[in-house]
């Protein structure tokens, strides 16, 4: 009697074991089993571009049947330039960079984002008599030329009732700004991290700062013909980045450590900055508003010969992201 | 002086038995009265005038047990012995002795044995 029961128990355990194993296999079988495709990515080698590097480090590209070569650049512009020159299939850069090229190059396509938040602040020397925003009138403010920051500074001033002609803009590279403000070559700077962090850390109480906006899209750029020829690769690329996005959500500390080591930041800086990041892959309606506003600004500034704002709807390639994560596509269609 | 003869009453339904017992005992100098039934023993004789009463047990009218019980009821000092064909177990005899039976003798009996036992019963 006991023997019979024992046999039944063993049989059930085996069946369950198999069932479970089969189920796990089903889960795992998401691994791509087709031919491997090669992609070259021109990425920025700093925190904003983390998604790409994490995707590589965690083997998501490999899992999705992609052989990805990452070329690192110091700025989004440099990456975009390299991409436009044909040195990469995809690049990561700021939305503003894209807008700057969008007038001439109509074959650019945006397939998603890698980051959607960047805090910019206006930092000013107290000893220059700046204690409230209005004190900025007549002061010298350093900003990167033709950048998203310049645009954003304009918005900031407008919101605070200051006309563009009431301040003196000094075009500097972000890396030059610390010295400039330290040496009193400028009275204030409008900049983002890590430059922002360094300046505030260096000058401490001698400066005052105001939040200057955080709306920001660090986008994935590709070309129309590439996307037409490689829709599946694009899709898998997006998928890998989405997996990296999930990985960061679930393993924040580990991802943070990886970024710290990969981009060679100090722990103190990481602690300050990591939670301020938004590493998400999306395509949303507000992008149009942002791009179009920047385009109008460029037209107004005379940075381009075109008089009409490009129809950015044509520049968005939805399909890759829509296939993998439709809820990440917020574009009205 | 004439010795007073001891008087014996014998109750038995068998005439021959009565006769031989009378012969044997009278030869020894006893006076023997023979009665054929228990009823007669109770009605027709004066029990007090006897020194010894011999009873048979198996009688048609009244059994020896019965008779013995009645006799004892009248007077418990009567000397009674059973003379019977029946075998009485030791335990029964012990009980009877408690009730007053002096002895019992089985029939058929030896002449000498009978005399000896009767004399013994009379002397107690």
């Amino acid at each position: 009697m006991f023997k019979k029961t024992l046999i039944w128990i063993i049989a059930i355990v085996i069946i369950f074991g198999f069932g479970f194993y089969w189920y796990r296999q089903q889960q795992q079988s998401e691994k791509y089993t087709g031919p491997v495709e090669k992609i070259t990515v021109a990425a920025v080698e700093y925190l904003t571009g983390a998604l790409v590097y994490i995707a590589e480090d965690q083997g998501f590209f490999e899992k999705n049947g992609l052989e990805v070569t990452i070329k690192g650049y110091g700025s989004g512009k440099a990456a975009a330039d390299a991409f436009i020159a044909g040195e990469a299939d995809i690049s990561t850069s700021a939305g503003n960079v894209f807008v700057s090229y969008s007038f001439e190059l109509t074959d650019l396509r945006i397939i998603g984002t890698v980051a959607t938040k960047q805090i910019k602040e206006l930092v000013a020397r107290k000893d220059k008599g700046i204690s409230i925003i209005n004190d900025l009138i007549g002061k010298r403010i350093a900003v990167k030329e033709k950048s998203g920051a310049e645009f954003q500074l304009g918005v900031f001033l407008t919101f605070n009732g200051i006309l563009q002609e009431d301040v003196e803009l000094v075009y500097l590279k972000p890396s030059e700004m610390l010295d400039a403000i330290s040496n009193e070559e400028v009275d204030a700077v409008f900049v983002w991290d890590p430059y922002l962090y360094n300046i505030k850390k260096e000058l401490g109480d001698s400066v005052v700062s105001w939040h200057g906006g955080e709306d920001f899209y660090f986008i994935l750029l590709t070309k129309e013909d590439w996307i037409e020829n490689n829709p599946a690769a694009a899709e898998r690329f997006i998928k890998s980045l989405l997996e990296a996005e999930d990985y960061i959500k679930d393993n924040s500390e580990k991802a943070k450590e990886f970024a710290r080591d990969r981009f060679d930041y100090e722990s103190e800086y990481m602690d300050y900055n990591w939670s301020k990041q938004e590493f998400t892959v999306i395509l949303e309606q507000a992008m149009f508003i942002t791009f179009e506003a920047q385009a109008r600004w460029r037209i107004k500034q005379g940075l381009t010969n075109t008089t009409e704002v490009p129809n950015y709807l044509d520049y968005i390639y939805l399909d890759a992201l829509e296939e993998v994560k439709p809820e990440a596509v917020g574009i009205i269609r | 002086m004439a010795k007073i003869k001891k008087r014996i009453l014998h109750v038995d339904d068998e005439l021959d038995t009565l006769k031989v017992v009378k012969i044997i005992l009278e030869k020894e100098g006893f006076e023997v009265d023979s009665v054929e039934s228990g009823k007669d023993a109770l009605k027709k004789v004066d029990l007090d005038s006897y020194d010894l009463i011999i009873l048979d047990i198996m009688m048609p009218d009244m059994s020896g047990w019965d008779l013995f019980t009645r006799i004892m009821k009248i007077k418990s000092e009567y000397r009674v012995i059973f003379l019977t064909v029946l075998d009485i177990s030791d335990s029964r005899f012990k009980k009877l002795k408690e009730h007053g039976i002096k002895d019992y003798i089985t029939k058929p009996f030896d002449k000498d044995e009978l005399v000896k036992r009767v004399k013994k019963a009379l002397s107690s």
Binding site: L313 | V20, L86, P108
Partner: protein
């Protein structure tokens, strides 16, 4: 109805009820799924409508192609969804009247705004052209006024559409809530019905089985305890009923058997009583004549009737001898009859066996002395106490010893030995007498057997002694037998008695 059938039926009813419940659940689930689908579609329309409006506002701000393009894309997609919803709701016309009405009104409004938007867009382009071509201000103003009116109308109807979508979504939710309530009520009622029906069914079936079963159990208990007259009262014609019938049959038969047995026992008791009476009467009748014979012979022999001459004396002696033989025979026959009728009751008492043997030997000392036979009693060491009928065992010993003495010539030897062998006491009586051959040994213990037969008998006896001994020893659960090396070479008589208590008869 058979028990089996009842159980199957109640099982089927239970399954049926569960099936009913499952059906109810499935039915309401399907309804709810429909309602959810409906809600999803309508909710999609609602969201799409607000997206459409978002793009409209963007368009009204900047009048750029991108917005126009998006508005048209969205518009087309909504029209498509409206059609889908209409199809979906048509399936359930009666229930969804209100929704269908609302949907129709939304549909009509959509067509209107489609037109309006096209007009607004065309008019704007026209106005721009007029401005570029530097047409008269009046014309421009008119165009711009038209623009204003068109846009106002567009916005109003867009708003209205949105309000309608909210209403319709609400209605869909209400429907779903209604269905949910219906589902809940149905489930409750179903569960109630199921409980009632299954409880009733179970009760009925269980009681229909357990009540008679209880009766059966009680009944069998009563019968088992001995009351065979008891009849199990189960009237049902099912398995239990049949069992009860069988039981009643059985107890009826048992009662019959028992009363038969009782009758037989009564008869046997009667027989026994008759035997007893016979025994007592026979004892009396046989012994009574012997009394006078004995007494008179004794009187004659003791010269109480005068001296007898030689002839007379010899004659009377012969009579006396035969009277004695007669007495012996009568006693032995009565004895063996008692033994045979199992009227023999052993009075068991714990006794030291040594005592009895000593007494038995003492009893025959004189006879042995007369014949000059040596009696040797072997030392009896460590004799355990044994439960026996003293009188009867003495009888046995007496019998065996007198036999030994009888059959041993003068100057012979008789050895008596008692030993403990395992669980038995073993008694030997060995003599140096005439011995026996095999034939004799075989028949030794049979009643009336005498070692010699016929008139030339040298040794007097009844022939019953040994069979009486056998009876007595066997009544004690012992064994008795004899051994001899042959004629003239002596014999040994052996009997065993179990030391443990023998069975009482």
């Amino acid at each position: 109805m058979k028990v089996k059938t009842r159980l199957y039926i109640s099982a089927i009813i239970s399954i049926g009820l569960v099936g009913m419940l499952v059906f109810g659940v499935v039915f309401t689930s399907n309804r709810i799924a429909e309602e959810i689908r409906e809600y999803e579609l309508l909710h999609d329309i609602q969201i799409a409508t607000s997206e459409l409006n978002l793009v409209l506002y963007e368009y009204l701000m900047h009048r750029e192609t991108r917005m126009e393009q998006q508005w048209n894309l969205k518009y087309d997609s909504i029209i498509e969804t409206l059609r889908e919803s209409e199809e979906e709701l048509e399936k359930r016309r009666e229930r969804e009247e209100e929704e269908i009405e609302l949907l129709e009104s939304i549909g009509v409004n959509f067509i209107t705004i489609g037109d309006l938007f096209a007009q607004v867009s065309a008019n704007y382009k026209e106005t721009q052209n007029l401005i570029q071509e530097e047409t008269s201000q009046k014309k421009i103003d008119t165009a711009m006024l038209l623009e204003e009116r068109l846009v106002a109308q567009l916005l109003i109807i867009s708003q209205s559409i949105f309000t309608d979508t909210c209403k319709i979504v609400h209605k869909a939710l209400d429907d779903a809530a209604e269905t949910q309530e219906l589902a809940r009520n149905l489930t409750l009622i179903s569960v109630l019905i199921i409980i009632v029906i299954s409880a009733t069914t179970t009760l009925f079936v269980v009681r229909s089985i357990s009540k008679p079963l209880d009766k059966l159990i009680k009944g069998t208990e009563i019968i088992g305890k001995g009351n065979l007259k008891h009849r199990i009262d189960i009237k049902a014609k099912d398995e239990i009923g049949n069992l009860a019938i069988s039981f009643n049959d059985m107890s009826r038969k048992l009662t019959k058997s028992y009363s038969l047995l009782e009758k037989k026992i009564e008869e046997l008791k009667e027989l026994d009583k008759l035997k007893d009476d016979f025994l007592n009467t026979t004892t009396h009748e046989l012994k009574t004549p012997l009394i006078p014979i004995r007494s008179q012979t004794q009187l004659l022999l003791s010269d109480d009737y005068g001296k007898l001459n030689k002839e007379q004396k010899e004659a009377v002696e012969m009579i006396f001898r035969n009277e004695n033989q007669m007495e012996r025979l009568v006693n032995d026959i009565l004895d063996i009859t008692k033994l045979q009728s199992k009227k023999l009751r052993l009075t068991l008492k714990k006794t030291t066996f040594a005592e009895i043997v000593t007494v038995a030997v003492k009893n025959v000392k004189n006879v042995a002395k007369q014949k000059n036979i040596l009696l040797v009693l072997e030392p009896m060491l460590e004799m355990p106490e044994i439960s026996i009928d003293k009188q009867r065992i003495l009888q046995v010993l007496g019998n065996l010893l007198s036999n030994a003495l009888k059959f041993t010539p003068e100057k012979g030897k008789i050895v008596i030995g008692v030993k403990k062998k395992k669980d038995d006491l073993v008694v030997n009586i060995k003599d140096t007498g005439v011995g026996m051959d095999k034939k004799t040994l075989k028949r030794l213990f049979t009643p009336f057997f005498q070692a010699e037969s016929g008139l030339k008998r040298k040794y007097a006896g009844t022939g019953l002694g040994l069979s009486i001994c056998k009876r007595i020893i066997e009544a004690h659960n012992g064994k008795i037998w004899a051994e001899s090396l042959g004629q003239g070479r002596g014999s040994t008589f052996i009997f065993t008695l179990p030391i443990k208590k023998p069975n009482k008869h």
